[in-house]
């Protein structure tokens, strides 16, 4: 999705993991993807540059949908969609 399209999304849930080191952004996302129903859109806000790479890799491994990233000032807004049960 384009950045403009991503900006229009109203996420089902937003996890703001900025400034939190433990357990860390990806683990927060995994927890959220597991507990939300199919069809949910999850926005993860991470201050860790690695998240923009780690999150799509994990989503690809577990066959969930990566929608895209909006880079911010020292943080990244990462959007994903739960497309199947897990």
């Amino acid at each position: 999705m384009t950045e403009e399209e991503l900006k229009q999304i109203k996420p089902t849930v937003t996890v703001d993991a900025r400034g939190t080191y433990c357990p860390g952004p990806l683990m927060e996302l995994i927890k959220e993807v597991r507990q939300q129903p199919v069809g949910s859109v999850i926005e993860l806000i991470s201050g860790d540059a690695g998240s923009a790479k780690d999150v799509p890799e994990w989503l690809n491994k577990v066959k969930q949908e990566f929608l895209g990233v909006i880079p911010g000032d020292g943080y990244w807004r990462i959007f994903s969609k739960k497309v199947k049960d897990m």
Partner: protein, 379 residues
Amino acid sequence: MSKRVVIVGGGVGGTIIANLLAKKMRPELKKGELVIDVISDKAEHFYQPGLLYMLFGIKHHDELVRNEIDLLDPMVALHLHPAIKIDKDKNEVHLKNGVIIKYDILVLATGSRPAPEMIPGLKEGGNWFYEVEACRKLRHELMTFKGGKIVLTIGLPHKCPVAPLEVSYMMDDWFRQRGLRDKVDYTYTYPIGRLHGLEPVANFAAKTFPKHGINSETLFNMKEVDPNKKTVTSLEGVTLKYDILITIPPHKGAQVIEDSGLGQNGFVPTDKFTLKMEGSTNIYVVGDTTNLPISKAGSTAHFESDIIVENIASELRNGLTPFRYDGKVFCFIETGLSKATYIMFDYNTPPNPVTPSALIHWFKLTYNKVYWLTPMGIL
């Protein structure tokens, strides 16, 4: 008319808050202008980090337990009846015995518990040490183990994020002492692509695992366990065979939180700085009960408690709540049976484990003995 502060939960967070508040607000308590209640479903206060030591026979159950009433300030009222409903619109807590307690300020300190039932087969096939009976069962399994494959798996969310590492290092030492280490194939799995959520700790583990002979499998999130075939399969498509499956199960919050509609899976949406429940002006949330993406650990509850007590006292005395939690957490990390390191971090400062030493290990052993001063509000 007196004000009433009601604390639901008698764990480390709830007990510290009750005791610190009773100390700080002594004049108001003595004049009858303030009442502090603690509601707990357990008469005993259990030092949960001690289970890691109980697993290896280093601590005995009785060393890890005190009566909650003995830890509480005498001016705090203890209600040993489970809370079954919290009505935030009417400012009421309903107890199982039918009593309804009204509050001016509520503190939710209901904690979290392992919920192995969330993963198919895990309850039947897995062993964990986060609860007393489960810890005893795993201890028995380990004591009678003659060798084979041990696999450690981790569910999300879970409390004490360093415990999976600690138990792995300690088990390595323990099997060496028993002369069985060469017969044990030990695999540590982790949900993300490195060995710990904290990058410096993950780097520390990557550097030290080879020396300890600990195998690893990252990006491993449990999907299901087959207790008959003794296999655990991940969402990522990897299946591992085991002889003993040790697990840190995924955790859930308290049922009363879910039943009262205060938070999904028992975790309450909370402001990371004020520690107030989102959308509420008179409900604070402490420790594991928050939905904050920070460590579920006793130390987190401890540092949060200081802020909550200051704000409650300030609010009652002058209507202001100026104090903010900065995300401070401190954790010891046992790196075997004779050495330890520690980490300290907050919202703005990443952790950096120091070189493990015997001194830090002794410090941790000492803290295990003096822990009781923490819920009492002394240490």
